[in-house]
């Protein structure tokens, strides 16, 4: 009896699942089209087995569980089709099927144990059910396959047992195969594998993440990080994403790949601060919007302060505010922690910026201070609305070379960034100038010809202003001769280095931490060892670390200064944002806590008295924390302080290697 039932069950499930899958594909294809390249499907296995697993493996237990469950299921399903579907009975195939079922069963047990007391980041509802379904499938498949190896009678007697087994298998098939096509939790396998194949950022799969402990000084792989936002065609009839169907179809596919594992939620600084953002919920809302319906069936944590179940959407109706509140989008700091953590490689930040673009460019509803900053950028080329000619006022006594007076060219163009208008950051810049001079670097500045890089405008969704600034900056930079650009602002660093190439500006740009590390390596800087043995910690700026993979140089610098670095629990690629990126400091969405306060708590936990930073925005945000708190010092300030300027003391000046400075901490330092 089972012999007749099983093929029917399996093929019905496959057929129904395929119908569902076809419908699902139709949903994705409602997005904006791009050329279809089927050969990309071939990339999928490598991306799945290698890149995806790389991320999953950050949680070892979960990785093993997934390998067992997923591997077991794929094998068991394939074999079941062959064995039970086509009736190719044989002890070897049967044995393999049994073995696969057992592996899957073991995995499913682990899943169930995790689901006994699920962590808050996990979604419940259907996902809770999935764990049981996995058991049902593996047990059912195991039992119905036992006769194949002759353990049980080849024909299981009719009646209740057959019914029970059939139901078990049917349950399993319903969840695993039908659910895969019809939007059940198993959808992730189907959508996820296609998403990996058609990912919008193929470069991400060539990337090896540099670890903070890496011995490799400059993270050779960071060149392959794909973190630049996609340029927007300003001549398009509609700018940005208003409705789910305005996303690229690959993005819609990506949303469907979400497994609701909640890793993004766990790392999201806005969520932790009680601001109304939860990356996981956002992606699920995009799925709701794409498929139509309400978010009432969502079974995970919602946006803090916003009730689940009150929003609805469809692929042809606007997302904001029916489906997602605007403040959810404005709470994002674009720190990319969610993207970094996502095992399915979903691009949350791209989606958020796409929707922000519509709000800013078409609806004109950028949060008040953000809109003011954009207006200032349009009128004065800097977000503060200050006279751009005063960009060098702080350096009146430093007598900096203007590059326009150096037609023969310079080695380094120092890009000041908007921090040049901020009194706090001017201290950093002064320190950096001192270091460059001590290192004998041939450098010059643009002066009043420098404009804002366009970072804030772009993250706030104003692509038009960004592109205008980018084009003007590229034109300015192209007029002058220099070998490379050095900047103390990771945002400028990222935008000039990674986002300008799309607009025809390819420049070699270094963050000042990298450049200073280089100077140390070349023996061009000599420092005295810090007389007080101070514990410092280092806060990785998002746009330097996660966006550009520079984790090593700052640490190398601190080591060269003889400072003991106490790493925060969240550092390196998992560093927590200061709350100042992506225009979040301007949109200033209220929450329960402030992100910089939470970050300062991280700092305090290390017991460090000083936190080394490498970004003007981080400096400003962290200094905004009410005292008493650890000191905030930019890397440049720390280096400049320890600097022994050439000619000041000949003896030390000839012993410049950082290694030596490090191994001789007792060396007497001339005051």
């Amino acid at each position: 009896m089972l012999q007749t039932l099983l093929p029917i069950l399996i093929f019905t499930a496959l057929a129904v699942g395929a119908i569902g899958a076809a419908r699902r594909i139709r949903l994705w294809r409602r997005g904006r089209r791009s050329p279809m390249r089927w050969q990309r499907l071939l990339r999928m296995p490598k991306r799945y087995l290698n890149d995806l697993h790389h991320v999953v493996a950050r949680d070892k237990a979960m990785a093993h569980t997934h390998v067992a469950t997923a591997g077991g299921f794929v094998a068991a399903m394939a074999l079941a089709i062959v064995v039970h579907g086509f009736g190719w009975h044989g002890p070897i195939l049967g044995g393999l099927l049994l073995a696969a079922s057992i592996v899957m069963f073991v995995g499913a047990l682990a899943v169930n144990r995790r689901r006994l007391n699920p962590p808050a980041k996990l979604s419940k509802g259907p996902w809770q059910r999935l764990s049981k379904s996995l058991l049902a499938y593996s047990v059912g498949m195991f039992l119905v396959s036992l006769p194949l190896v002759g353990v049980a009678p080849t024909t299981l007697g009719g009646g209740a047992l057959v019914l029970v087994l059939t139901l078990l298998v049917a349950w399993g098939l319903l969840e695993m195969i039908v659910g895969m096509g019809w939007g059940g939790p198993m959808k992730h396998a189907f959508a996820g594998s296609l998403h990996l194949a058609f990912h919008r950022r193929p470069e991400r799969f060539d990337d090896q993440h540099g670890e903070p402990q890496s011995t490799n000084p400059h993270d050779v792989h960071r060149g392959s990080r794909s973190t630049a936002l996609f340029p927007l065609d300003l001549a398009a009839p509609k700018l940005g994403v208003e409705k789910p169907s305005d996303f690229q179809w690959e993005q819609l596919l990506g949303f469907d790949a979400c497994v609701q594992c909640g890793r993004c939620q766990a790392v999201c600084p806005a969520f932790a601060a009680g601001q109304p953002l939860n990356p996981k919920k956002l992606i699920q809302d995009m799925v709701v919007g794409m498929a139509g319906g309400t978010d009432a069936r969502y079974a995970g944590s919602g946006y803090p302060g916003i009730d689940v179940g009150k929003h609805h959407g469809s692929s042809a109706s606007p997302i904001v505010p029916q489906l997602v509140e605007a403040e959810t989008l404005w709470a994002c700091t674009t720190c990319r922690a969610c993207v970094e953590e996502c095992p399915m490689m979903i691009e949350h930040v791209d989606a958020i910026v796409d929707m922000r673009r519509f709000i800013t460019l078409e609806m004109g509803e950028t949060p008040e201070k953000g809109a003011a900053a954009i207006d200032n950028l349009i009128a004065t080329d800097n977000p503060g609305g200050l006279d751009n000619a005063s960009r060098l006022d702080w350096a009146a006594d430093l007598d900096l070379d203007r590059i326009k007076d150096r037609p023969e060219g310079v080695d380094v163009l120092l890009w000041l960034g908007d921090g040049a208008f901020d009194m706090r950051n001017q201290r950093t810049l002064r320190a950096l100038v001192k270091i460059l001079r001590a290192g004998g670097v041939d450098f010059a500045v643009l002066g009043e010809e420098e404009r804002d890089s366009g970072d804030v405008a772009r993250r706030l969704g104003d692509e038009a202003t960004f592109q205008r600034l980018a084009e003007r900056n590229i034109a300015t930079l192209s007029r002058y001769r220099f070998r490379r650009i050095v900047t103390a602002d990771p945002h400028s660093f990222h935008v000039i280095g990674r986002e300008y190439p799309a607009f025809g500006g390819t420049f070699e740009i270094l963050h000042h931490s990298t450049f200073m590390a280089e100077l140390f390596e070349a023996g061009r800087l000599s420092v005295g060892v810090n007389p007080h043995s101070e514990t410092v910690t280092y806060h990785d700026p998002c746009y330097l670390g996660r966006y550009n993979g520079e984790f090593a140089a700052p640490r190398q610098l601190l080591a060269a200064l003889g400072l003991e670095v106490a790493e925060m629990a969240r550092s390196g690629y998992r560093s927590r944002c200061c709350g100042g990126g992506g225009g979040a400091a301007l949109s200033d969405v209220p929450g329960k806590a402030r992100i910089p306060d939470m970050r300062m708590e991280d700092v305090r936990e290390t017991g460090a008295t000083t936190v080394a930073v490498a970004c003007p925005q981080c400096t400003a945000m962290l200094e905004g924390v009410v005292e008493p708190r650890p000191q905030i010092r930019d890397l440049a300030e720390l280096v400049a302080e320890a600097l022994i300027e050439p000619g000041f003391d000949e003896v030390v000046a000839t012993a410049p290697t950082p290694a030596r400075a490090k191994v001789q901490p007792d060396e007497e330092i001339p005051a």
Binding site: M423, D588, P590, R594, G624, V626
Partner: protein, 421 residues
């Protein structure tokens, strides 16, 4: 020649600095002629405590005299020359603003400008007022005074009837100049109305110079848009900014009242504008940047209900420091400072705000700053014109009490507190 008599009793007291009546007799203490006929100077009575707390010698002795005279308020202004003008050759009309019924500095500047234009000629500087009694027109330089109070209602905004009255004056007196204050909705409004009316009536040279800030050598300089100035021959109508000329200081004029012969010759008025009266403005509705009176709270405030009540009692707009906003006690829109709003209140009361640099940057344009703080060393106290070293909550509560509206029991204020937060 009179014989110099010396009162030996007074001399004794004067010499004895410990005598209870010494100060009384010591005047003028810094210098006197002794019984021997020698000029004596008392160095202790000289000088005054300078701004740095260091005693400064003022050998003129004026400070001593002033302090003994009590307050030094005595006017040292020399007597003014009285100028009378019996038969004017023409008129220069000045329409002062008379905000709150008084001549303002701006009004005096306008009259000064009129005097400058009149020069040595017999043109009569005529103050045109819509109020019956205005003090100080004589010192301000008005030869004549044209009171049009009978033609218009001084209390209501009725530019059309005022314009009609001015047009009547223009027809009768044909003044060579009209001078208005460039203030909206006062003289700036009326002056432009007059100019537009005269232009359409075909009066020559009626196009006014607006925002005039200087008149020299028969040319006027007025500020135009786009960082430009316009220089032109002095036109008939000048709508001038404050400090366009120096006020009259050396002469005194008669401000002789005059009337229009064609009194009540009211030209037909199209009543297009009807004044419906002042609107009570909730101080909390005034944008912070324009608010004239701000009560601002910082970390030192614990009793927020009391704070909101105090703002209500004082009629002040509420402001806050960044920390108070970050802590969620005040909305972000109320944040004062470089990262919030730059304010220009005429009075700014900072309660429990220590005065971070960014905050102080935000209040640089405030005229008067009052700090209430427990910490006498904080920067806000240093910045303040009046600093009260005390607990902010208690002082505010006492203020409410003394103004007759004590802070209600917390239960009653709970709701208001939420509203504001």
């Amino acid at each position: 020649m009179s014989v110099r008599r010396i009162d030996p009793h007074a001399e004794r007291i004067r010499r004895n600095r410990l005598h209870p009546r010494h100060r009384e007799f010591a005047r003028p203490a810094w210098r006197w002629t002794s019984a021997e006929g020698v000029t004596r100077i008392n160095p202790h009575a000289l000088g005054a405590i300078g701004p740095n707390g260091i005693k400064r010698l003022d050998r003129s002795g004026a400070s001593v005299e002033a302090s003994i005279a009590g307050g030094g308020q005595a006017s040292t202004e020399p007597a003014r020359r009285q100028i009378t003008l019996e038969v004017p050759s023409g008129y220069i009309m000045v329409v002062p603003e008379l905000a709150e019924g008084r001549l303002s500095d701006h009004d005096r500047d306008l009259l000064g400008l009129a005097r400058q234009l009149a020069g040595d000629t017999d043109l009569a500087v005529t103050a045109v007022t819509f109020l019956s009694d205005v003090a100080g027109l004589e010192e301000a330089g008005a030869d004549r005074r044209l009171d049009l109070a009978n033609l218009v209602d001084a209390e209501t905004y009725d530019p059309e009837s005022r314009l009609a009255a001015l047009v009547a004056a223009e027809r009768e007196l044909v003044p060579s100049h009209w001078i208005f204050a460039d203030d909206f909705p006062g003289g700036g409004d009326l002056g432009r109305r007059l100019a537009a009316r005269l232009t359409s009536d075909g009066v020559q040279e009626a196009r006014p110079a607006t925002r005039v800030w200087q008149v020299a050598d028969g040319r006027s300089l007025s500020r135009a848009g786009d960082r430009q100035d316009i220089q032109r021959d002095v036109p008939k109508i000048l709508i001038a900014l404050a400090e366009c000329a120096d006020p009259v200081s050396e002469t005194r004029h008669e401000a002789r009242p005059m009337t229009l012969e064609a009194d009540n010759a009211a030209i037909e008025i199209t009543a297009g504008i009807v004044d419906r009266g002042r609107v009570a403005v909730d101080p909390q509705q005034i944008p912070l940047a324009q608010a004239p009176f701000i009560l601002s709270a910082g970390r030192g405030v614990a009793d927020w209900a009391g704070f909101h009540h105090a703002a209500d009692v004082l009629g002040a707009s509420e402001g806050a420091s960044r920390v108070a906003v970050d802590d969620g006690n005040m909305p972000r829109a109320r944040q004062v400072g470089a990262t919030g709003t730059f304010v220009a209140a005429s009075c700014y009361i900072a309660v429990g705000i220590s005065g971070a640099v960014q905050h102080l940057q935000g209040i640089t344009r405030c005229q008067r700053v009052i700090a209430i703080n427990r910490d006498p060393t904080c920067d806000m106290v240093k910045r303040a014109d009046l600093a009260i070293i005390a607990d902010g909550d208690a002082v505010l509560a006492a203020v409410c009490q003394q103004l007759g509206r004590p802070t209600p029991v917390p239960a009653a204020t709970e709701e208001r507190c939420h509203d504001a937060a």
